[in-house]
Amino acid sequence: MARPFGDDRMRRSRLLLLFLVMTLIPFAVGRSDAAGQLHVTVSTDKQSYGPGELVAVNGQVLDDSLNGVPFASVSIQANDPSGNPVHVAQVLSSTDGSYKDQFRAPPNPTNGGYAVYVTASKPGYADASSQAACVITPEFSTSQVPFLMLLAAILTVLLAKKREQGSVPSRNSRRQEKEPSRT
């Protein structure tokens, strides 16, 4: 029995629609702005630094397969313990996905933990963020030691002179003054 003409046309239309969908789907997917998710690592070369010391920031930008991603833009912000930025930089990852940056610790740093924040971005990938921490401690520099020793010697001599003049009571004299009150 012959099928009605309308059924045939409908079937052809459905086939054409299916063909168009199958043909266009790969293009639609291929044009997605986020082809994959970036991953970024960050670390500092040491955990603790002194004033003025060089802080090296290293890391790597990876894709979902953990392959290095070259030419990813890496944005870096380092904050002091109060949350104030002390350094910012924009670097590009190299052919193996690694990146490097460095900054000098403040000469008179706020004592405490410094945070390093990074964001990696590249067209076609979703951004990735990460952070690391290090400690920067204020300390006496070796150049200050002779000065402090000299200052201590001067103060000792001045104190001894004043004691000789009687303006500063010695420990013994103070004890003698207190003793009558005990009895």
Partner: protein, 439 residues
Amino acid sequence: MTLLLLSISLVAVISPMYVEGDTGVADHTTKTKKTETSTTASGSVTELTSGFILKADPPVHTVQHLKNGRTASATYSVRVTASSGFRGKVELSVDGLPEDADAFFNPEEGVPKPVLASILKVLIPPSTPAGIYTLKITGSSDHTSNYATTTLIVEGEATTRTTQKQDELRVSISTDKEKYDRGDEVRISGLVKLNLGASVAGATVSLSVLDPAGEEVHAAVMNTDQAGRYAENFTLPSIAVEGTYTVYATASMTGYKDAYATVTFTVGVSRLPSVRIVNATITMLDGTPSSEFKPGETVVVWTAANNTGVDLKSGNMWIEVLDPDDAPITVVVIVVTIHTGEQAQIGVHVILGSNAKLGTYTVRILVSDAPIMSGGKFLDSKEMAFVVSSDASQTATATTQTTTEIASTSTTESTSTSTTETASTTTSETTSTSTAETA
């Protein structure tokens, strides 16, 4: 029409430096026009058929080596004057520097309207051999390149180099426009230099252009010319994807580490902010460009950024100043909103401490869509330099006609400000004021 003038000041009392920032807004007037120019030089002024002329003053500069290992400097005024309606961006470079010398321009590039006034600062360390050097100062635009020459005479006995200088490659990159339509021709150009100074001829430059989906739409490899420049043209397909494109440049040279640079442009409508720093200048308080300051003086860093993508809302403009030992002295953060097709201009005052270190300071300018600690990312960055010396009175200054714009008819809104200090553990005070006028 609404005239919105925003002025934001911020003051941070820190030791040894003191920071104050102003911000205003300016309209977006970036336009380019292609011209053809012959490249011939005569004395200190170029001859041209159209485009622009370049003039360097003084024609001869004599510098004596300083004692106690200090670095001497020579300052030249460079003026680029446009003719025939030329409105392209001109990038400046210098060639013929003596051994160990460094040099930088302030500003390094700009659009002559009709004059672009810049300062070339040449730093001459004690190890630079005495002699007579011819400096070739080149101005390059999309299709035009002109140069002027000037003479540098170094006198006095050179000392042996105390530290091995690590020269590093640097590469710049730009496109002739910030926004294109499908089917347009895109011209990519840039310059390869050593550190702040001499241009590098014969360096290999690899270019890669990625569309918004990360697909490579163009790639090229070329060598820099005698002036250290490279250029590449390509045509966007008629079915080009709309959005923000990114161009990557890698510069390679035997004996040096590779250098990288990126720039973005938009095709049609972008779904992301596409911000580019288009102007950066260092001036004195009165707006006169200067590259040399004395301790205690105020350095004003001006920068302008255009947005060809969607509105940048509550983005950040960052100014970081590094001392001669590359220690960050201050980081200033300004929250700014830049609408599509508009420009934001900010000025940050940095008051040098009376005990400021002498030497070359680096100024790093960045724009981000949000703080990095909140997952934001930098959209563009630029570096500049200035010198702090004890005898800044020798500084020759160039007249300014085309530099800073503080107010405009733009509806760009600069909203709030914040500032931080890095240099000390002393207590810091931060105050901010803002005023807005409408007319």
